[in-house]
Symmetry: C2
Subunit: 212 residues, 2 copies
């Protein structure tokens, strides 16, 4: 977000908004929290952003030290963008926005785009609230799959698609259940009890969720 125009205020919140307050910037961070991504993939998961604005933001963010651009080793040799450690520190900001925004979420509007991994942080909170936030958790939705690294200190907090290794827990639910969990209207343990969330796996998270 770095608005080209700084607020010029000696205030840490204003400084943060100088860096990440521009339109799209924090949503780009949300995308990169899933790990390194290519330009085209970012563009696909940020419906509405124009190509020039996305390119411009990625440059701004690199200048600000939020992201780096890296060329993958051949074969492939494509460019990927990823968060720096400093960029990853924005996770609490997205968390706070997500908690507050849950109250604004409501029902899905016809004009709303959806991606499975947009539910990653809300579900991570639900897991934390249920005392089941440990290890690798795979989540399967109609919109697609993603996985959570629940106790991870560094590196991506979540990722696209199925878990790269056998996860400690696998969750499967429908869109309505996922939305209700995200809005905080439904408790994860209750949802499991009512059979709205199917839990498999034998990690500590799976066991914690299954015990009534």
């Amino acid at each position: 977000m770095s608005p080209r125009r700084s607020y010029d205020q000696y205030c840490s919140a204003a400084r943060a908004l100088d860096a990440v307050g521009d339109r799209w910037t924090l949503l780009i961070v949300r995308e990169l929290l899933a790990g390194p991504r290519r330009y085209t993939d970012l563009h696909a998961d940020l419906p509405g952003v124009s190509t020039d604005v996305l390119a411009s933001r990625l440059k701004d963010m690199e200048r600000e030290g939020l992201t780096t651009r890296r060329r993958l080793a051949p074969p492939g040799a494509v460019h990927v963008y990823e968060l720096t450690p400093r960029g990853e520190e924005l996770l609490p900001v997205l968390e706070a926005l997500g908690v507050w925004g849950a109250g604004e979420l409501g029902e899905r509007r016809p004009t709303d785009a959806v991606r499975a991994h947009w539910f990653a942080l809300p579900l991570l909170r639900a897991l934390r609230a249920a005392g089941a936030s440990e290890g690798l958790v795979e989540v399967r939705l109609e919109e697609g799959d993603f996985h959570l690294r629940a106790g991870a200190g560094d590196g991506p907090v979540y990722g696209h698609g199925r878990a790269p290794e056998e996860p400690g827990a696998r969750l499967e639910m429908d869109a309505a259940t996922c939305a209700a969990l995200s809005r905080g209207e439904l408790d994860l343990r209750d949802a499991v009890r009512e059979g709205r969330v199917a839990v498999t796996g034998d990690g500590t998270a799976a066991k914690a969720l299954r015990e009534t």
Copy 2:
């Protein structure tokens, strides 16, 4: 912030940015966390905002349920703007932005405006870290005074000027010390020990800060 243009994404963070992502909106919230304020005072403590944008934001925020406009009882009969409970729930968002932005604060630039109460949330964090976040605390800086309601569940978290009643603790420090505390480079207890922060009062917070 409510960008006139919604992101149209079924994601709680995106919804939050729809509501508070516009330029100036979160800084207006920062100002209103100090309690009800008049248009002119808001304009004075938000250097750089143009009159029409401020008026427009205040209308947007009222539409979104973040603020209310109220006419004070005569004499005076001026309008004041204040946060709704929903608007006050944005405190964690400003907290998270402030924590992250502390790393961007650095030295004060010649172009930077300053207001004493912009240090309220950083100092509240410093008090919390020092285990002295209870009761009414008055802070005196060169730039001006403000007070903190450290344990307050509802209502304004901080206010302008001196404390309305006798505070449990009174802190006095210079600008450099306050900035170092805000950046997290200096520990409040250390600062007290070194005499960079003068503590008076006999509340639990004052006692906690004075005991080495």
